[in-house]
């Protein structure tokens, strides 16, 4: 059984939303923060709801709807969401009011929207989707956990799930940015990012533009670079693949010295013969950025080439048919996603 990526939608700092190809120009980060280029939400959400929804909910719901539209699916069988921080601005708003109003006369709206499953729940509510609905909140592996759940749902032979809407959503707020700066985050990982990305996965091949999700795997706190190398080689071997079968490696390299030390090592070892490109100059660093990398990989497989307009040098690759995404978050959470053209 094959897992097919039937639709891929990203709301990111770049002009990616609603496109199934690359944007023509690159938006650079201003300072140490990239903000999403948000669409006109009235095309996706009832205007009376827009006013009440916080930004992250609008980002998630609109991206999910656009992804379903691209897939031509009205109501999915399951909805799986990943978010590390959840609805930060609602959380901060409710916390602030508790303190400022000394726990009195509080409006419940921010509290209601602060729960981590708000986006997944709102998508279900808008679609009237009664199917399986889950939300993973595991730091740098929130999206990958959701993706694993989605692929399991499709693989389970006694299951009733034939298509899954899976994605992630993350926002940067002024408060979270200021707190992470005090942690020294932007000395180590230069640009804070945010974004939403949703995908429709199905079991079985459909259209000609489709991409196959071969595998997703994660590992936690490896003991050193040797373990990371061993895990990557084993991941490929378990799928009867080797680096020679990978046309392109997309890495989480972001120009920060801490994180890039790992990527630099790998470029000299397991990835030394591979064509590699980064993606975080497009979306910034955030715990669920691998979902943007997956969107990016899907577009590359659809076009067969690396988009030169986004600042990449022209490389002799031939038509790209198989991609490996390797990302780590803070050196703690590591993930591997392999996908290929149908």
């Amino acid at each position: 059984m094959e897992t097919i990526i039937r639709a891929a939608t990203a709301l990111s700092p770049q002009q990616t939303f609603g496109r199934t190809s690359f944007p023509g120009e690159l938006k650079d980060a201003t300072g140490d923060r990239l903000r999403c280029a948000e669409p006109d939400y009235r095309n996706y959400i009832d205007p009376s709801l827009i006013r009440r929804m916080s930004r992250i909910i609008k980002m998630g719901v609109a991206t999910a709807r656009e992804s379903l539209r691209e897939a031509g699916i009205g109501i999915p069988d399951a909805i799986v969401t990943g978010t590390a921080y959840g609805c930060l601005s609602d959380t901060v708003q409710f916390l602030t009011r508790i303190i400022e109003q000394k726990e009195a006369m509080l409006s419940p709206t921010a509290f209601i929207q602060s729960t981590h499953n708000t986006v997944g729940g709102q998508i279900a509510l808008m679609l009237r989707c009664h199917g399986y609905n889950n939300t993973f909140v595991h730091r740098g592996l929130s999206f990958e956990s959701a993706l694993l759940d989605a692929t399991l749902l499709l693989e389970e032979t006694d299951g009733t799930v034939f298509n899954v809407l899976v994605g992630s959503v993350e926002e940067v707020t002024d408060t979270s940015h200021a707190i992470l700066r005090r942690f020294g985050m932007y000395r180590r990982y230069p640009v804070a990012g945010e974004g939403a990305a949703f995908f429709v996965l199905t079991n079985g091949r459909r259209g000609e533009d489709d991409v196959k999700l071969d595998a997703v795997s994660t590992f936690y706190k490896p003991k050193g670079i040797e373990e990371i190398e061993r895990r990557i080689v084993a991941f490929l071997a378990e799928r009867q693949t080797g680096m020679e079968d990978i046309d392109l490696v997309i890495t989480g390299r972001d120009g920060g010295k801490d994180g890039d030390a790992i990527y630099g090592q790998l470029l000299r070892s397991v990835f030394r013969a591979a064509v590699t490109i980064p993606y975080k100059h497009l979306c910034g660093e955030y715990p669920t950025s691998a979902s943007f990398a997956l969107w990016f990989a899907v577009q590359i497989l659809r076009s067969g080439t690396i988009p030169t307009a986004l600042g990449f040098e022209e490389t002799e690759t031939g038509r790209i048919r198989r991609i490996l995404i390797y990302n780590h978050y803070l050196g703690i959470h590591h993930s591997l996603i392999m996908l290929s053209a149908c």
């Binding site: 909805i79 590390a84 921080y85 959840g86 901060v92 409710f94 916390l95 602030t96 508790i98 303190i99 400022e100 000394k102 726990e103 009195a104 509080l106 409006s107 419940p108 509290f111 209601i112 929207q113 602060s114 729960t115 981590h116 499953n117 708000t118 997944g120 729940g121 709102q122 279900a124 509510l125 679609l127 009237r128 989707c129 009664h130 199917g131 399986y132 609905n133 889950n134 939300t135 993973f136 909140v137 595991h138 730091r139 592996l141 929130s142 956990s145 759940d149 399991l152 693989e155 389970e156 006694d158 408060t175 200021a178 707190i179 005090r182 942690f183 994660t218 936690y220 706190k221 703690i332």
Partner: protein, 404 residues
């Protein structure tokens, strides 16, 4: 039955007991954990009853042999997860792939809210140590590290159904051959954030809650954690053969997750999500409604939840109701921990035939003829137990535990 998933270890901490044995004793003796606020620093003291774990952070840390500076959620989580692992007494084998699948809804909010008070006054004075466990996943990870579990670690947060989802995600990872053992469940500490949140929704009872009673008037918040150790069939038979390697409580035979898709916080009047979750779990287990011996209700005590859950039960079971009760009348509503704590109680029910009382029940709900149990009893005929967990965002999950 090569794909069965078995429960070989249990651990719980709640307002009615600091470990599993104490919790069972309180359930047997009808001793509630709901009382006036003594620990939480809030202006609502004296007005809103809660179900606090009766230990300070320092006492919890002392029991857990851990730092008292970590989040209370993490301390609660560690104590019950470790108790479950000790209870399981897994064979010492280095080749076992062990996962920690944990749920919570507040993460380290107990620390974050203290951090934030200082931050608002002067950001440069707020000590970053106070916010390192803000993320739900950070709590899980700290506990996994303390337990020495690293093969697979993840966190689920779907409001009040969080740990039910964690438990059956663990079961699915075992069935798919990705893990041999899953320590699964959830934890939540009582915080000002959640107390004020539920208070602003006006669904907190000013008295100890009365689940499934016509005169119910809201829920009481609680705190705690509950974990199961789930193992594959292959490992279970190994555990069984060497009988000194602990015991098997029961099998996790059914599960389902459905969404009510009606309202962000309220349940639909016909209990659609609850119905679909229970029905889906029955379908997966291959059981009929009449096979269920006991339902551990979600039963929060709010007007809305109990009516929707009651209607869903009536739709599914008709007038032939199994025995049922809400143990939230003991533990309060422990949010992200509730599915875990109640799964532990349900597994004990299957193993020992325990039927728990629904405290303070007096008057049946209008239009719902089934009566909850009012006394503790032991019924050796208990074969299958259904546990319900429904939550905000429409997230509804049900689990079924079955005799071997």
């Amino acid at each position: 039955m090569s794909k069965g998933v078995f429960i070989v270890g249990l651990g719980a901490i709640s307002a009615i007991g600091n470990d599993l044995r104490e919790c069972i004793s309180a359930l047997e003796n009808g001793r509630t954990g709901i009382d006036a606020i003594t620990r939480l620093q809030t202006t609502h003291r004296g007005r809103i009853p809660v179900a606090e774990v009766k230990l300070t952070n320092a006492e919890l840390a002392n029991r857990a042999a851990a730092s008292p500076r970590v989040s209370r959620t993490a301390l609660l989580s560690l104590l019950a997860a470790r108790e479950a692992l000790d209870d399981a007494a897994l064979p010492e084998r280095s080749d076992l792939r062990i996962g920690f699948i944990s749920a919570n809804t507040v993460g380290g909010m107990d620390r974050s809210e203290q951090f934030f008070e200082v931050w608002l006054a002067d950001p440069s004075h707020a000590k970053l140590r106070g916010i390192v466990q803000h993320e739900c996943g950070a709590v899980t990870e700290w506990v996994a590290d303390q337990l020495g579990i690293g093969d697979y670690v993840t966190t689920i947060s779907t409001a009040c159904s969080s740990s039910a989802n964690a438990i059956f995600f663990g079961a699915r990872l075992i069935r798919q051959g990705l893990l041999d053992v899953a320590v699964a469940g959830g934890a939540d500490a009582l915080t000002k954030f959640t107390l004020n949140g539920f208070n602003s929704l006006m669904i907190l009872d000013g008295e100890p809650c009365k689940p499934f009673d016509e005169d119910r008037n809201g829920l009481n918040l609680g705190e705690g954690s509950g974990y199961l150790v789930l193992v594959s069939e292959r490992l279970a038979s190994a555990v069984m053969n060497g009988s000194e390697h602990g015991k098997i409580y029961c099998r996790l035979s059914g599960w389902a997750n459905a969404n009510d898709a009606y309202h962000q916080t309220a349940s639909s009047p016909d209990g659609t999500g609850s119905y679909l979750a229970m029905q889906g779990a029955l379908e997966r287990s291959g059981l009929c409604p009449s096979d269920i011996s006991y339902i551990n209700l979600h039963g929060t005590g709010t007007r809305n939840n109990d009516m929707a859950e009651g209607i869903a039960i009536r739709r599914l079971f008709g007038t032939q109701c199994p025995k049922m009760s809400s143990t939230k009348s003991f533990t309060g509503h422990t949010l992200g921990a509730s599915g875990g704590i109640e799964a532990v109680f349900s597994a004990l029910s299957v193993k020992y035939g325990f039927i728990y009382p629904n405290l303070r029940f007096r008057t049946p709900m209008d239009g719902f003829s089934c009566l909850p149990e009012t006394t503790f009893s032991c019924d050796p005929a208990v074969a299958h137990v259904l546990s319900n967990s429904f939550g905000f965002g429409g997230n509804c999950s049900s689990l079924i535990f079955s005799k071997l």
